[in-house]
Structures are given as C-alpha cells and as structure tokens.
C-alpha cells in the first residue's frame, strides 16, 4: 500500500523534471554522460541510486515494474528496491520480463529480447570508461570532447601483449554511434552484443557519480576490438543450466556442499519460464 506521506514516486517534482531533462538530452546524444544533481535517497549511494532516480522519474501508475540484481528477481537489492518503489507508487510489479514496461537492473540484461515498448534502466557504479586510465574528471571530459580514446586502446593492446587476450571481464567498453566511448555498466561481456541495435531504450543512471546516459533503440553499439583480434564474449560450451538445461544463457558457476561445481542460469526469471514451459 502506497505511503501517502510522500510525493508520488518519492522525489519532488523539481527533481524529477531535472532528471527528465537530463534523460532527454542523454537520448539525443547517445553514449554521452549528462550531469545531473543526484538526490539523497533512503538508500546509500552506490546501492543503485542512479537507477532508482531514473525509475522514479519515469514511472507512472500504468507501468509494470521488474527489478533484477545480477539476473535475479529475488536478491536483497532487487527485492528492496522493488518494495521501495512499490511503497511510493503502488505500481504493479512482475518477475516476467515480457510483462514489464520498466525494468531496473544491476549488472545483467535479461535473456528474453526486450521490445520497443520496454525501458531497461541500469544501475551504474562507475560511468566513466576512461577512469581506469585517467583519474581527473576535467581531463576525461576533454578526452570525450576530442574523441581521444587512445589510452583505452593502449590498455587493450597491453592486455593482449601481456596475457594474449583482453582480460576485461565486465564493464567492457564500447563505442556508441561511432562517437562516444561508453561504459555499459558492469554487465558481463556476454551481454554487450545485446546493446547493439536493440529494440528497447537503455537508460543508465549513476547516482554517486551524478551522470545519466542512454542508448536509444536501433543504435550502433560496438564493443572495442582490433581488426585481427575480434571481440569475444564468455563461452559456456559444453555447460548447461542444472535446473532448466539451457545452453545458450549466461551461467553462474556455483559449488555445492561437497565442493562439486555446477552451473545455473543467471537470469532466474528466464530459467523459471523455461522450466514452466517444459513441465507444461
């Protein structure tokens, strides 16, 4: 039941308007990080406040909300964010990806392809892809302005020289619309291709770093790679989910009490849907 002591969707209307203006500019300039005045929330910065602020600014009574954390609908972060948004909006929530109109996610893109009527909102800890090579914000801003991405390419090259492969496991940088280098948030490399020419709108919110950026539908998003060393995502060849048997999903590696290794779908909702389908 909605708590009437707060404004609908918790934030005051001025805050929502600022975030909405930033989101529109972010959509108009794909991959560019728009600064915004990140608000205080009843949750610590770094726990998804950027995503929550975007969700609260977007959401309306007719929306159906899904929140996932590392693919799971039932983790602490996802459950509490869903409860919080439910308390201040009364919107319907779901675990089924296809039913949701707004999906907030931490570190995964659902396995079910999203449609044009859906919006996926990412919680982003470090939005700046150049931070790993340059600590100063004013310098990274200038590097983006000048499209100077040489240090990142050098980092990839050094990784190849040292280890014979690119060692970035998540937050793999990509180029958006051929102009901006973007951090896709800590999604696994497995999910990077889902960003390319997707039907849905992707919005990224970094509350602590006070940045919003976006990828509109059907936008070119290319993961960085050299001509002779193509981009490679995680390979689960020969492995399958122990619950649903899927072989084409991103799998979590786990160990039971005996130390035996097994694999399970990271996207719990997809895994459940497959099991429901199989069991009729």
């Amino acid at each position: 039941m909605m708590n009437r002591n707060y404004n609908f969707a918790f934030l005051d209307e001025g805050s929502k308007r600022e975030i909405r203006r930033a989101a529109l500019k972010a959509v108009a300039i794909p991959g560019y990080q728009v600064s915004f005045g990140s608000r205080e929330l009843p949750i610590g910065r770094g726990w998804g406040t950027g995503g929550i602020q975007l969700t609260l600014s977007l959401i309306g009574p007719e929306d159906v909300l899904k929140v996932i954390d590392q693919g799971s609908d039932e983790s602490v972060n996802a459950v509490n964010i869903k409860k919080f948004i439910g308390l201040c909006t009364d919107v319907e929530t779901t675990t089924k990806t296809s039913e949701a109109t707004v999906i907030q996610t931490r570190h995964r893109i659902p396995e079910v392809p999203l449609t044009n009527r859906q919006i996926l909102i990412f919680q982003v800890p470090i939005p700046e892809p150049l931070r790993i090579v340059e600590a100063r914000e004013e310098v990274t801003k200038k590097m983006h302005a000048e499209k100077d991405y040489a240090p990142i390419w050098l980092q990839l090259y050094e990784s190849l020289v040292k280890y014979n492969k690119v060692t970035i496991a998540s937050e793999y940088p990509c180029m958006v619309s051929g102009r901006y280098m973007m951090n896709p948030s800590p999604i696994p490399k497995f999910d990077n291709p889902k960003l390319h020419r997707a039907e849905c709108l992707y919005l990224f919110g970094a509350g602590r770093e006070k940045k919003i950026y976006a990828i509109p539908p059907y936008t070119e998003v290319i993961s960085l790679a050299f001509d002779d060393i193509p981009f490679e995502k995680e390979n689960f060849k020969g492995k399958k989910c122990r619950l649903c048997g899927s072989e084409n999903t991103y799998l979590d590696e786990m160990f039971d009490q005996h130390g035996d290794r097994f694999y399970q779908c990271s996207d719990t909702s997809y895994c459940q849907e497959v099991r429901d389908y199989v069991s009729g």
Partner: protein
C-alpha cells in the same frame, strides 16, 4: 496579467506531467514517431495548449526559455512554470509559433560545446499545414531508414538546421507539435534526404 492567465487549468503536475514526459521520451527515442498529447493539451488553455503541456512537463525555475516575441505565450509559460525568460542565444527551450521565426531561431539557438553538448537548445515548433514531401530519415532510434511525409515547416526546419553545419555532438534537438496534439522529434543525429 491578461484574462487568459486567470483561467484555471486541470493539468495535473504530477501524473499528467509523467505521462507527457513518457510520450516525449518515446518520441525522442523513436524519431519521427508521432505521439498524441491532445488529451493533456486539452487540460490547458490559450492558443498553444500543447506547448504549455510540454512546458509544464519540462520547464521550471532552473530552466530558461524564449518564445520569439509572443508575449501572451511567454506570460503563460512563465506563470505556469516559473521558468526564466531569456534571449534566444541562451534559452534551453525555444518555442516557435510561426514558420517565419524558424530561420532566425535555428541560427541563434545554442548548440552546446564539444565538452558540454547537452547545454544546447530544444526547439519546439508549431507544425501546421499539410504534408508536402516525403523524407527518408535515418539515425539512432530509427530501424535502418524510415520514410515519412513531412510538412513544409519540418522540411524548412531541417534545411535550416543542416545549414548550421554543427560539429556533432554539438547541435539542437527539434520537437514538432501539430494542432491536433501530435508530437514527434528529430534529435540532432537524425539525418534526412528529400525524396
């Protein structure tokens, strides 16, 4: 204060704003797709109620606007949103009521900088008239290429915009609103070719 300003409106600043925002977001994400704002514009008053619906959704005392000399519209927007009136060159939002104003507006509207391209204007244009041509539009938000029928206003606006030769990411974003409340957008990355 004019008599128009004393009129009461029934536009809900929480729920109607949210719905109009989602329509604008849909339009910005899917350029050339027309979304309907009539339901919300009808809750406002004056000669340009759809402009007021957009203004009430996006403007407040932290933003500034220009209306190309339309004093009544300027008073209405300032009164409803508390946004600041400002010269064309520094306005975050420019509302263009007549086609004749379009060329000077697009020439003067701020286009941001290479470092801060978001500090650029959103130009909201009254889109009157019948379609006169077909245009193929392409860019982010459009699946390949889409052919749409456009009015002279839209054709001219894009021609004026392209004459500015902005260096991307600098540029301006265009919103067109027709009499029937139909709204669509052409963000800076969308390119056209007349067929």
């Amino acid at each position: 204060m004019t008599s128009q300003l004393s009129k009461k409106h029934s536009f809900d600043t929480v729920f109607d704003s949210q719905k109009v925002f989602r329509l604008i977001l849909e339009a910005m994400s899917n350029p050339a797709r027309v979304v309907g704002t009539k339901e919300f514009a009808d809750k406002l008053f004056g000669e340009y109620p759809a402009f007021l619906a957009v203004a009430m959704t996006l403007l407040d005392n932290e933003s500034c606007f220009n209306v190309c000399g339309n004093q009544l519209l300027s008073d209405e927007i300032a009164s409803l949103t508390l946004a600041k009136r400002t010269p064309m060159e520094s306005a975050d939002f420019v509302f263009v009521c007549t086609a004749n104003d379009m060329e000077p507006v697009i020439q003067k509207a701020k286009c941001g900088t290479l470092s801060d391209p978001h500090k650029s204007a959103t130009v909201v244009i009254q889109n009157d008239g019948q379609p006169v041509c077909q245009m193929a539009l392409a860019g982010p938000g459009i699946n390949g290429c889409t052919v749409v029928r456009m009015t002279q206003v839209v054709k001219d606006a894009l021609a004026f915009r392209d004459m500015q030769n902005y260096e991307y990411p600098q540029g301006i974003d265009l919103l067109f609103i027709s009499d029937d409340g139909g709204l669509f957008s052409i963000p800076r990355l969308i390119q056209m070719e007349v067929q």
